[in-house]
Symmetry: none
Subunit: 211 residues, 4 copies
DNA sequence: AATGAATGAGCCTTCATTCAT
DNA sequence: GATGAATGAAGGCTCATTCAT
């Protein structure tokens, strides 16, 4: 059962979240026995946790590639641009988005114990990347809290275009999430954030310089 | 039945969203007969729509106050600060957040026909406020798309602190959503956004001035 | 309420029979209050009886015309032809058939106390007509039981083409119940029955004549 | 569950038809859990279809015996007598009638997809038997439409004594459906039909012979 | 006199879980 | 070790009837 069922379960949990995913649908897709889930995993919650870990491992390649792109030596501004482009393409470019993204979206609405694991393995490393970028741009005058604030502002801008897509679509601002629009959005978020960061850095300098 | 049930239903729908809210729980809270819901509203979907409208009307005071604060004559920078402070206090200040906010959060994950109504009545006016602020700050050189982009960036920053609160809490950046932290976050978002807008405005001017 | 509701109720009972007709549908059509039915008639059964009587009175004109056609002086063979033509046109010619016919069809499957009334007022007179026709054709040698048997055979042939229409249609014998087909069927039933009756009469004579 | 439930379901569906049969009653009789029905059969419609097929198979013996009686070499007049006797005994002899008969009666009032199957498996073969009998009696001058008409007239007479039994009982013609009465009715239907067929055959001959 | 509101009982269906084999 | 069968609880919904006004 393991291989096929994990694949099917990942898709069903990604689509419906923990609460609304059903054994029936998972086992139908996996052509597996319904009782097998309880037999192998004990109950729904432990099964879900196992699936989440499976997804993280499976989509690890994407994350590792993201990490390596972040670690290549380049000016922080360029790395920020890369980050935003990769993030928005990953969030808006594919339909449906990766299972990991959809699982996390459900966890944000209705957290389960699996969220701890997802934050530790997926969000933390990404967040640290962004903090490092922000740290380099703002310079040594910036304290860690300010760095975190800015990091949240930047990744938040990316994520909100995914999460609020139903509302934004109804506002009619963007025609659709075609590649050109995604590129435009990424360019905007990168520019908006860099202008802010640079301006803040100047403020910090000025504040320090002023006697 | 009407009064009590509407109250109970609003709470249950806000907690669980349309799909996972049950007549059982609503009627238990309202001490009403389950069949009464179908009697009064026809079916679950119409009942939900009625509850959403009820919530919007009921929480209309907050929205109207928000509008009036936005329409008082003041420099756009000050109105942006007010906007961000009000938004973050509304999103993070109460636990649980207002029913309208929670209903909208569920609609973003799993839209229903009611979302159109919510966008039209709640999101659109607010979004127009933010566009007007951005428009005044950026000046006449900015086109409407850039204005919309920036408006989304700003309101997005506010909303993401609410929506991703479970994740951000696990990142350990902020101790809790006590009033001081909310104030700090609002100050950050306002500053970050204003720095970006001012810097962009300068860029627009420079671009125009430079021969 | 009386007028409109009786009309609506007749239609709904004719469509669905006593058991499956609902107050909801009746009152919806009649734009009447659901509680009015119980208020005016006590319960569903008494309401149904009242509606059946109403339908019989209302469709009395058709029955009376039928009766008068039967009582006009004419050879019994011609009256039998008329009977069969009228019956089959009434049973198959209109879509849907008259309410009285549909009510009776339901009563045959699931009799209620109202059936007594329907038999007494509708079936008995018609049956007596057919008996009189048969009696005249067979002559005085025929006893009453034989007359009744033959009468049932003839009216039975008419009725079965209505009642078993779903099955007969699936047998593919007749294309549809267009006027030509109905005419053909009536001609067949009349001829089949008259051949039988005449042949039986000859048998009776021969039987009597033979010493 | 299968065996007991099929038995119970057949009885309940036979009594009430598809629409009015309830899982509650079936499972009460079968001492089974209500959810078991959906587990084994998916939904009510598929369950019903399965029960119909089950009944047809179970009562297949009767049908096969009927077929073999029809296929034994004998003059068509004798086979018609046998047909009518078997049919009326099957339709009127048992109380309640066989489940297949009652299921078909309900299908005639409110057809479901199962009717196709019932016609194909039960009605068609029987109808072909009667057509063959009629064909042999009428001789080669008779066209297929006339044969079908007569076959319907004969089987229709049999069936109507079952279907209209509630009405006929109220007409008071026959005391009850005791064996003697059934025998009398069968004799009448057979004689009535044979007289008609023979007379029609003579007419066909005369028509041809007459210059 | 008449009706909007409410109700208990019942409908088919789906759920995660358990159990006997 | 693995699974078809079964189950209690709950899901939204409809029914004829009752009740307070």
């Amino acid at each position: 059962m393991r291989g096929l069922a994990a694949h099917a379960a990942a898709e069903v949990f990604a689509q419906n979240g923990y609460r609304n995913a059903t054994f029936r649908e998972i086992c139908q897709r996996a052509q597996a026995n319904i009782a097998a889930v309880n037999y192998h995993f004990g109950d729904k919650e432990r099964f879900y946790s196992a699936v989440v870990e499976h997804v993280i491992e499976q989509e690890g390649d994407v994350l590792r590639e993201f990490q390596s792109r972040m670690e290549t030596p380049a000016p922080p501004e360029e790395r920020l641009r890369t980050f935003v482009h990769l993030a928005l393409n990953s969030l808006l470019g594919a339909s449906p988005p990766t299972r990991l993204i959809r699982l996390m979206a459900h966890e944000m609405m209705e957290p389960t114990p699996a969220l701890d694991f997802m934050v530790e393995r997926v969000v933390q490393p990404t967040h640290q990347n962004m903090r490092e970028i922000v740290r380099e741009i703002l310079g040594e005058k910036a304290d860690e809290r300010m760095i975190a604030d800015c990091a949240h502002s930047i990744t938040g801008q990316c994520f909100i275009f995914h999460h609020a897509r139903a509302v934004i679509a109804r506002l009619g601002t963007y025609p659709a999430h075609d590649p050109a629009t995604i590129e435009h959005l990424a360019e905007h978020v990168a520019q908006f954030s860099l202008e802010a960061l640079h301006s803040i850095r100047e403020g910090l300098r000025g504040f320090a310089v002023t006697p």
